[in-house]
Symmetry: C2
Subunit: 342 residues, 2 copies
């Protein structure tokens, strides 16, 4: 192809020793590779990582494979002027891990496809990778491969996470039944609140908005819910409660009644102000788990040190209704990201 | 985030019924979804495809998982003015399938992450998907998930292919031993020759350059070589013979002597002209298999209707030498894509 074709293409899986070397400012390339390789030997499920045409993964006996893939594109999913590189790396991987959590699964390995523009400072890539690998190490998963390329414009990331779950035991979106109760982990709206600040031109310190800059995926909670057979349906809150609840209802052929005062709202900013209901209902990227449980099951208030809150009930009628403090009923339409941000 | 954030994000895994709806020209969206879903029920290894937080795949007993991921970016890996959309879709998937072939594996499922600029004609996406799915159907694999987004610039594709291989039986790059013989499938240089034409401003008809526009990955050959225990090391020729042979030599800690006259060269163009040696040595994207076999093993001339050609020998000395027709010896340096195209 033309001059730039493949000139910067470096495939992790192909070039064990020249990872990232094609990127324009490869000064600390060796440190980067060394860091990736250190992170690349952790999970016993990875038989072969970076360095061949494919990675080879192994499953525990009687398990199935979970696969999820997520784009993270500059200008679409993050902004360089708003998001420092380490949070961008962290958030990329959180998206994938959160999908594994929502099935009740166990993550094994991640694959990073990264295209960077020629003029991207090398420190950006270093800090991005640092943020991603720190989270990978926390969850003891391997960065087992990927691809790199020169980007025609902006930073382009695609993250794949592969995990496992005992055969037939994954918690799907489609298992909710009328009479089930609806729960959510942690609290909601904190990530959207940070975006609100950023959009208003305010400085948002990562320490004041941890759920936006360094969200921890709820893998342990998801696994516990699956192991204890508590969740009949589950999804992660990536698009906003109203949208993600609609997905469960649609897939399960049910509706729900949600009690507005019961929704746990995040406290954010330096003054720990509670977010408004609109953010909690429609803000996305909280990466909490939204699940339903059969009425007979006792769901604890905390699992793996994360609060679990009852917020409503599954009903037969296929609509979602929001019940206010005064008992007024409103139809709750999905207003996740797409609408929320207009 | 800002207005466009997530407004076009559509996750296959999340939105079973609104796939692609966010893309700007969604006229035949339903036809597209219907086509993807038809292709999405083929492989018995896919327990759950599009429509949840993750896809769920199953392995045959005693097998391991193969994972490969490849970027395909407009302006880097393809050009819209050179490559019609169906070949772009076909070539994207071939890259992944060819990696599975190079391990001797069996593909199960593909995951497509596609970001398109807002002004991309809808027919482009339709034809791209058609090209990709036609190949997926040929290989009886499922398009089991992915992600879509609005692209800030250009068409961005990342393809993941997941496959399986009997435990411990994958053919690695690292197994070549001094005394082994070197073989290649099919013929080489045909894809690079098409690029040469395109760069010179010539029209290249896909029918005249099938290996460039519609390369068929050598999955059956790779599997047969693994099953018969013939290949000691294997790689697919994606970066060019000189570069990919260097990868095998590096990973195996060996060298090789290649007989220039033995290299099978492609016949291309309307007049079926043979490509020159330079293209055959250094041109990439032929997606043939390059492998080594122990000296005692009889390697057939054809496997799965594809020619197998002996081209040289593995040696202890860690250099690659090219021996010309007259017996002259040259050092063969990796001159795949990067250098080839400058």
């Amino acid at each position: 192809m033309h001059r730039s074709d493949h000139s910067v293409r470096r495939r992790f899986s192909a070039l064990r020793c020249s990872l990232y070397s094609g990127l324009v400012v490869p000064i600390s390339e060796k440190a980067l590779i060394s860091r990736i390789r250190r992170a690349s030997i952790r999970h016993s499920g990875v038989a072969l990582g970076i360095g061949d045409d494919c990675a080879i993964l192994r499953l525990p006996a009687g398990h199935e494979i979970l696969v999820t893939t997520d784009f993270n594109l500059e200008g679409i999913h993050f902004r360089r002027e708003w998001h420092p590189p380490a949070p961008v790396g962290h958030r990329c991987l959180t998206r994938g891990l959160s999908d594994i959590a929502a099935m009740g699964g166990e993550p094994i390995a991640a694959f990073l496809s990264l295209a960077a523009p020629a003029n991207l400072p090398q420190t950006w890539i270093g800090n991005f990778t640092h943020g991603l690998l720190a989270l990978a190490e926390n969850f003891k998963i391997t960065l087992a491969g990927g691809d790199t390329a020169e980007s025609p414009a902006g930073i382009l990331v695609d993250i794949v996470v592969v995990g496992s779950v005992p055969r037939g035991k994954a918690v799907l979106r489609s298992g909710a039944k009328p009479g089930d109760r609806v729960y959510v982990t942690g609290d909601l709206g904190g990530s959207a609140a940070a975006l609100g600040e950023l959009r208003a031109g305010e400085k948002s310190r990562p320490a004041d908005y941890p759920r936006h800059f360094f969200p921890i995926p709820r893998v342990a909670v998801g696994r516990a819910l699956r192991e204890r057979g508590l969740a009949s349906a589950m999804i992660d809150v990536s698009d906003g409660l109203s949208t993600d609840l609609a997905h469960i209802c649609e897939e399960s052929g049910v509706g729900a009644e949600i009690l507005a005062p019961a929704i746990p709202r995040a406290f954010v900013g330096r003054k720990r102000k509670v977010v408004d209901l609109f953010h909690a209902l429609h803000g996305g990227e909280d990466y909490e788990l939204l699940f339903t449980a059969p009425p007979g099951r006792r769901v604890p208030n905390r699992i793996a040190d994360v609060a679990i809150t009852f917020i409503g009930n599954v009903i037969r009628d296929q609509h979602v209704t929001l019940i206010s403090e005064t008992g007024r009923r409103h139809k709750l339409r999905p207003q996740g990201w797409e609408h929320f941000r207009r």
